[in-house]
Subunit: 377 residues, 4 copies
């Protein structure tokens, strides 16, 4: 077989909602990848895998460690529940595999840092947290536009994650594991702020080929929130609508909104506001290109779920990760940035719960007491 | 009183739906005009005038000829039913008044030509047909853009007039007087085609200060239509949905659509398509700047009536007409163009009824028989 | 003259940018008002008035107190620089005039309260602060929709005021008087939050005909900002981009953004987010209904200034104020609300400068020290 | 291998622009298909195939007849130049293969009818003309909405195909083979009219499982056009801007526009106008969800080519064709409809060239002479 048709042998861990999708993407929609194995301990997911994966030659495991030993396995996509992301990622790294891990790495900053440490000690392996929005073409065009200087210096970023209301109560129960609305929802928006506000690596580092761009440094975080539709969230210290503000050193501000009650569907949007212009991603959400002119007015439906909005981005994420592993180069989402995103999200969640603004110095140390948030590396 | 505060003494003839609006515009919203008189033979309109106009010092007449003799009267706005537009306009012209006449001048081309002849024999008086869309700011900006060359040479014009369905049956009865859907509705679109496709006057004429721009010359007209919601229209040779195509000499095409059944409201729109770009007026109709994000999607209401859409244009039309009379200059809507619009509309209506394409030579004579449409002047 | 044609005799104080517009609105575009007098001490404005107002019979004064004595004067529109709004409003009230005062009443809360006290001691006179956005049809439709329950309970309000960048440096100098970006720009957004979050008066009060709706009570304010384009603002403790968050008791949050550097023009927008839907006012700004399809894409121009966006609202504001004075009833913008708006804006400005979150108890007293912001009445 | 993983063995004939894309779609993006062979006589395309297809196990042929004999081949996707579509399709059918043929079947009606006859004599094979727009999700949602009765009875259809201007002159040379602008561009719009205006099969036929829906019957066609940017087209009897109107018996009208000079890119759009509402597909074209707020205004880029707009639809077309072959059932685009589309396009082209309206009786025979267009079957 010609070199260009060599395919990455990958496994997917966890076959829940997103895991099953990742499995399908690697199985059917990533030409250079070959889904060789999958792991799930869940009977229902197992049945799904028997029917939908096994016939295509995928080996199904009920033991994660066994799966890691699958003959020829090169990479793992970790899509289990958030609580085991870090542990599974570390095991895979230590077993010599490349890792694509669903976001967030963990709801716990220390756990994230362990993943980062593991990755650093295996520098030839690719480890990437799957911040899917970065692979959406509109966000990518906005990024190119930003770095080209089209809007001057990016100064303010506004970003929101708004879900359609799910009356099943699922997200209320899930709140005990999710880390809270900033960690679960706005983590994407935080990641975008870090992306659009990052600077290229300083001259010296760039020359040596060192990879990480310079992340903006947090100066303060503050947050407020309410439980408008699900009072039960309060018992987990969570809310269903939240506003968070992150101030960075060097004159940049990001502000976020998240909601669990958006009436027409999923509406995630971002504005990158520069000194000379503004880029708006998904200010006008739409499910396709159809508009209905009916007695109630002109009506446009919008995506109902995160996946409906970002399906193509997930497929692109799989393609890019595969290409980077096969061809070499840096993963496009730096792991330090993904750890920093959790750190900020956790701080926002704390600010929400305490009602206090949290202030940092340039080294990432808290000013005025508090020790819940460690310094940036 | 200072010269700049001198006000034009105007009367409004006919106080039906549009007449009452014109009266209000001249009374309250045209600073340099003074509504001094109004005429209506209709008891209901008369009662309205007693209550709403008389207290402000407006004299109400039940005899049109008497009104023309009102002391100091300088101008008349003719807003009666279409069938008497031409007659009243001619009387006013012959009485030495300036005239603003509602569109169309008549449903009969010969009658239109009589108005034109009267106007020509009183060259110091201003006579203008009220094609309100020309005074809409979006159409005006589009015109400036067109003449500036921003879209290259205007080549194709698409324009539509779509009314919200009126279940009262009014427009079915009215079809016997309206002249048909092209004369009643698309006349506006035809006027726009003549406007955007006209050329500046040839060098010689312009030097002598001769006014009329050069109108494009019709090469053919064809039309089709259906009665989708009001079969009763057929008895008047009319339809509720029509498509008409007008081919001009020198490589320009206008195509029109009109409908009586637009579900969300009034939707009149126009595209001016040039060799280097396209201008779209009201491709996205809206009643203000509000959008509702509700379970059915994102919803935008649109104007319900022609007046809701063009109220400001009517006020501007009154202002401009007043200024031209007081300050001198040419009326912005040439009367020959307004006659040509009727000629084209009548030809389209004939093409609709006969099912035949009607062809003209460069002098406006029919090719291949037919005599219903006279030559252009 | 019939009762319905009786016109309110009003004067305009200050003929700067907005004052001249108010004068024109009352002179030419408010049928039931008669502009009888105007005051300005400024030579340039005086020359304008001689040319544009005097010929229409308006008496021009260079002494405010003299103007108040103008024979038959009934009302004053205060449009001078902000620093004298309160003083002139109080003088007019004490002289028995109705007052329409430009926003804000003052940049100083105590001064605002004096205006409120004066108004309360003259209960038969109408005193209204001119929050123009409330008279914009889209905001009004949104209000009706909100009170009808269409979006459930209003919970989150996002609102922004973004000006086109003015390279003249005007707003840098003006920063020493303006009270800062929250007091100068976001005051409108704050007013909207108070409007959409207010509740009808409690049953008892409503029965007695007591007027004021129940304003939401502030729980905390926090703010951040940067000087991205005009570092000179820092000397006045001001910024050119700011984000502010206001938390109310009873589960409501408003968050604001203001900017002095919006590239295409003026973009003020508001989202009212309820438990069952969201209303967006001006999410898609537009200058009319024209779109250009040109090589760079599909382009839509937007208003360049606040007045281009809200001209019709200012005219409506004049009409409504006039009607309320002539016909009786409550002014639609409660004066207590307008004082509260300044109180919140000043607190946001303090939070911006100090970097501290400011917290209040239900009676409006500061929690945790501080005394700059007095209790709500 | 499990039944569900059995894959359709397909070949692609022609590896020009669209052929190469089809090859990629079947190779990498159609899980249930296996691209086993490809044919091209063109050296440049051959080189591309050696590099991009052969390494994945695809056999490359320079002889179409040889390719048809490829071991195990089940289906052929015909993507050669239009002039050989019909011939290759017929050969493949006669060789027992299923066929997916690029549009149009031919520029010659008689040739189309031969393909139809061949297909009818091999009723167990699937033969489908690739009208890609039918596989676009927005068009599909519109179709479901239409058949659900949401807009009442579909009455008027407006549809346009507008390409970005290609200054290379390619399409001028190509005009000698393309069949003209209606056959080359508007054929898609004509297909949509046939789709949205078709009725379900009559009761009797439906009971017997007979497949074809009832196509609307053409009553007249008329067309006009101009050469605005490429006068050279005239030598081939073609134009660069055309308007065509098709009247159907039973009260339906379709009108079309095509252009070769759309400034910002590709803009294909369709309105399906019913008695109770209107569906608009791509009234607001967009390349993704990004809007730029820059000094010139708010700008949105649009797709540059037909493929940028319809890439996903082509992939879906491949998927659906594959599923129908593997699982049984009817192809979603009836072959008789595809022949009828050519018949209408050819008639429009003739109307354009002759300047005459062409009229048909209910049996598809021309009324008033003419013999260029045969009767509908």
């Amino acid at each position: 077989m010609a070199p260009q048709t060599r395919r990455l042998r990958i496994a997917v861990s966890g076959l829940g909602r997103m895991g099953a999708r990742h499995a399908n993407h690697f199985l059917h929609r990533t030409p250079r990848a070959e889904l060789v194995a999958a792991f799930t301990p869940n009977p229902k997911e197992l049945a799904w895998a028997k029917k939908n994966l096994e016939p295509w030659g995928v080996t199904i495991y009920q033991d994660y460690d066994q799966m890691l030993k699958h003959e020829g396995l090169e990479a793992v996509c970790v899509s289990t529940v958030t609580t085991v992301h870090a542990e599974q990622a570390i095991k895979a790294i230590e077993a010599g595999k490349h890792v694509l891990c669903e976001k967030p790495l963990s709801t716990d900053v220390a756990a994230c840092e362990k993943v980062l440490a593991a990755a650093k000690s295996h520098p030839t392996q690719k480890v990437m947290c799957g911040f899917s929005r970065r692979f959406d073409p509109s966000y990518q065009t906005a990024y190119k536009s930003t770095t080209s200087g089209a809007i001057g210096r990016p100064t303010i970023l506004r970003s929101q994650t708004c879900d359609k209301y799910d009356p099943s109560g699922f997200f209320v129960d899930y709140a005990q594991f999710s880390g809270g609305i900033f960690v679960d929802c706005n983590i994407h928006d935080i990641d975008l702020a870090l992306w659009y506000f990052s600077s290229p690596p300083p001259a010296g580092k760039a020359e040596k080929g060192e990879r990480e761009v310079v992340l903006p440094r947090v100066k303060s975080v503050s947050a407020v929130g309410v439980t408008a539709v699900e009072p039960g969230l309060a018992q987990h210290g969570d809310v269903d609508n939240a506003v968070g503000v992150v101030e960075f050193f060097d004159g940049q501000i990001a502000y976020f909104y998240s909601s669990r009650m958006n009436a027409p569907g999923q509406h995630d949007m971002t504005e990158i506001i520069g000194t000379k212009g503004k880029l708006v991603v998904n200010g006008n959400p739409a499910m396709g290109l159809l508009e209905s002119h009916v007695p109630s007015g002109i009506v446009r439906e919008i995506p109902q779920t995160y996946y409906e909005r970002f399906e193509a981005a997930f497929v692109e994420e799989a393609r890019v990760f595969t290409d980077v592993v096969l061809d070499g180069g840096e993963v496009p989402v730096g792991l330090e940035s993904s750890v920093e995103a959790v750190r900020i999200a956790v701080a926002l969640q704390e600010a929400l719960r305490s009602g206090r603004k949290i202030v940092f110095d340039r080294e990432g140390r808290r000013v005025g007491g508090g020790d819940g948030v460690k310094a940036r590396l």
